[in-house]
């Protein structure tokens, strides 16, 4: 992470294109039938327990077992590989892209994700801090809790199987926490963002600058 941040460049990027482009891939092999088209608006998953599915994007059928895949984020379908309609695709094939409009908070998070060390979820599961880390957070606050490689920081809970997750990455303090206890986190999604202590002033500067700039714009 550099000490110098070109704020104008970063903010200019978000001003000119305040969107996140979310690529959607085939989760497994199968025959594709699209349920949206380019330009379609899509709704995100919703409901108190995230139990109301988002807009159905496509149906993928393998061995006569059709599965509808729904949107997790809202936005507009900005591109779609309509040439794949009715075709058999491999797992991981890119199918469409959703252009998701970013809010101020999301822009700050998005910039922070570029400058913090992001520790991702190893599996789709529920996560909570290990007892030691949790008690240190309760006493001092997350940004006073430092972690180093090899520390047992998080417990992954899946099917009543609790597995310690060991931190690997830069030494630093827990700046951002992206999970909530009891809420499932997808594999690869960020769990925590770590910031070396000496970089904290820089992070604060980013947040202040983005807030001020965005408020001015609005």
């Amino acid at each position: 992470m550099s000490d110098e941040i070109d704020f104008d460049e970063i903010l200019g990027k978000y001003h000119s294109d305040p969107y996140e482009y979310v690529d959607i891939y085939a989760s497994h092999t199968g025959v594709i039938r699209f349920l949206v088209e380019e330009g379609s608006s899509v709704d995100a998953v919703s409901g108190e327990w995230k139990h109301v599915p988002g807009t159905a994007l496509f149906e993928i059928t393998r061995e006569n077992n059709p599965k509808k895949v729904t949107a997790l984020t809202n936005g507009v379908v900005s591109s779609i590989r309509s040439e794949l309609e009715g075709c058999f695709v491999e797992a991981g094939a890119k199918l469409l892209t959703i252009r998701h409009p970013l809010k101020k908070k999301e822009i700050i998070e998005s910039i922070l994700k570029e400058v913090l060390y992001i520790f991702p979820a190893p599996e789709r599961a529920k996560y909570f801090f290990s007892l030691d880390v949790q008690s240190r957070i309760e006493k001092k606050g997350a940004r006073e809790v430092s972690v180093k490689p090899g520390d047992e920081i998080i417990i992954m809970s899946l099917m009543k199987r609790d597995t310690p997750v060991y931190y690997s990455g830069e030494k630093g303090v827990i700046h951002s926490v992206y999970f909530k206890p009891g809420v499932s986190v997808d594999q690869g999604a960020p769990l925590i963002g770590i910031c070396p202590t000496e970089k904290l002033p820089l992070i604060k500067k980013i947040i202040t600058r983005v807030k001020a700039d965005w408020d001015q714009k609005e």
Partner: protein, 308 residues
């Protein structure tokens, strides 16, 4: 001291050959020698203690001491104690473990592929439920994920915790088990929700015999888990395992969770989240929940309590 000291790896081997394999053959499950062979490490070492604080903690200490003395940890080591003085369930809930029950921990090297790890926590529930039915607790059933209930009360509970060994950074699963057999006094907070096998049958059971039956079944189902993994790899090992695993199939036969109206929560006792009807179990062991507004969600972590 109870008769758990009679247990040894060779006694378990003999039980598998003379009792469990013929029983399964009589039930039409064919030649099961291969599956038992795949699960044969389970019980390769059996250590019995009169009393321990917590079997899981003792297992961690055992792993540490073995590694520090430059010796390996036997996969499938079983640690048993006649009583546990500081036992606990999940989320620091109390678990009463006086003499008369079957308390312990299995050390299981984490060699399963990620696609198959979800099935591991199902296995102790299946093995215990089968062993209970075999001795007469015919209405024993499994509540998602692996609680075993009889007459609506908890008779057995299981925990699976991961551990990374301190010296060689090997990954292990510690499978903690607690089965209320002849212990029939429960502390006030557990009265009404816990039951023992002796209370169900109206007579005491032989601890070592029950333990042999339970461990033999654990061997069979862990063998089935490894065997299915090997078969899947032989078929090409696609990115996801989407078949109905035979372990899950057996779990469904023994569980009364599908169809129940439940309260769901990550820690359902402290923080119940919502009420829904269990409409099914997904092939990756997720609980499919039908909400009042007609939508469905799938949960892979958490626990349920049945609504009265």
């Amino acid at each position: 001291m109870d008769n758990l000291t009679l247990l040894s790896p060779s006694v378990l081997d003999d039980y598998v050959i003379t009792v469990e394999r013929p029983r399964l053959k009589n039930e039409g499950l064919g030649d099961n020698e291969k599956l038992f062979r795949y699960g044969a490490s389970l019980g390769s070492v059996i250590r019995v203690y009169p009393s321990l604080d917590r079997a899981m903690d003792h297992a961690r200490e055992h792993i540490r001491l073995r590694e520090e003395s430059r010796r390996s940890v036997a996969n499938g080591t079983l640690i048993l104690a006649s009583t546990l003085t500081l036992s606990k369930g999940r989320f620091s809930r109390s678990w009463h473990a006086p003499p008369g029950g079957l308390w312990g921990c299995l050390i299981f090297a984490d060699t399963l592929l990620p696609q198959f790890r979800n099935f591991l926590p199902l296995i102790p529930g299946i093995a215990c439920c089968e062993a209970l039915r075999q001795v007469g607790a015919s209405d024993a059933s499994i509540r998602w994920v692996n609680d075993v209930l009889v007459q609506g009360k908890k008779l057995a509970g299981f925990l699976v915790e991961g551990v990374c060994s301190p010296v060689h950074r090997e990954q292990y699963h510690l499978l903690g088990f607690g089965v209320n057999l002849n212990n029939d006094c429960f502390p006030p907070e557990l009265k009404g929700s816990a039951i023992s096998l002796a209370q169900v049958l109206g007579a005491e059971v032989d601890l070592a015999s029950f333990a042999l039956s339970f461990f033999a079944k654990l061997r069979y189902y862990t063998g089935l888990l490894f065997h299915e993994e090997e078969q899947w790899l032989a078929r090409g090992g696609l990115r996801e395992y989407t078949d109905e695993h035979p372990v899950l199939k057996r779990w469904k036969e023994l569980s009364d969770t599908p169809g129940q109206r439940v309260i769901f929560g990550y820690d359902v006792m402290e923080s119940p989240q919502y009420e829904a009807v269990v409409s099914g179990i997904s092939n990756d062991c997720g609980l499919v929940l039908l909400h009042a507004d007609g939508t469905e969600s799938v949960e892979h972590s958490g626990e349920v309590r049945y609504c009265p």
